[in-house]
Point group: C2
Chain length 116, copies 2
């Protein structure tokens, strides 16, 4: 499932720091504490995160890997804005500039490995 903007910010903390309490996430994303709490509760309902209720302060973990979620979001954009063509998206990402020489080199390298 595709997370919303706020949900993605929370997931990002969990991916970077590993399982966290609401407070730990809140200290990173800022805003109101109960806002973060509410969002994370909803994310449990949606299945975006799982919750360990052993301790008084519940501990949340992402249900999917970062890579999987990125894949979902890319797939969604390809379908919605690029007529289903991954190549079209890649070309747009590159021609919209923003890919440094290092990045271009990394992409070439990856394509090379992909060939096999």
């Amino acid at each position: 499932m595709k997370p919303t903007q706020s949900e993605l910010a929370i997931l990002d903390v969990l991916w970077r720091q590993g399982p966290c309490t609401v407070r730990q996430v809140h200290e990173v994303v800022g805003g109101g504490y109960t806002t973060t709490l509410k969002l994370m509760q909803i994310m449990v309902e949606k299945g975006l995160v799982v919750r360990d209720e052993q301790e008084r302060a519940h501990v949340y973990s992402p249900r999917l890997e970062k890579e999987e979620t990125q894949g979902v979001m890319v797939r969604d954009l390809i379908d919605r804005a690029f007529g289903g063509s991954a190549a079209q998206l890649v070309m747009r990402a590159l021609s919209a500039g923003q890919a440094s020489d290092e990045e271009l080199a990394a992409i070439r390298q990856m394509l090379k490995e992909y060939k096999r």
Copy 2:
């Protein structure tokens, strides 16, 4: 500006068919006629499309080229989900499968031309 899902569907018709009346768009996107009308009116306010009111049936045109809008959407996704790295997005798009051999070939070709 980044169009919503419904707005993108409408823009897609305008990009493919050129300037259209509400009815022409509606015949493609389906749903209720006044729904399409309302959305297109809002899109005028947002500046996503421009409207020619010469005729009784107003004629709408996209304000930005398809390529520009795609660029905006890709940029947005790169910022939100890939920490600003276009290369990361490209790699995810490719490793998430979904790129056919033809597409891979096209991307390699594009990178080749990009080198110059």
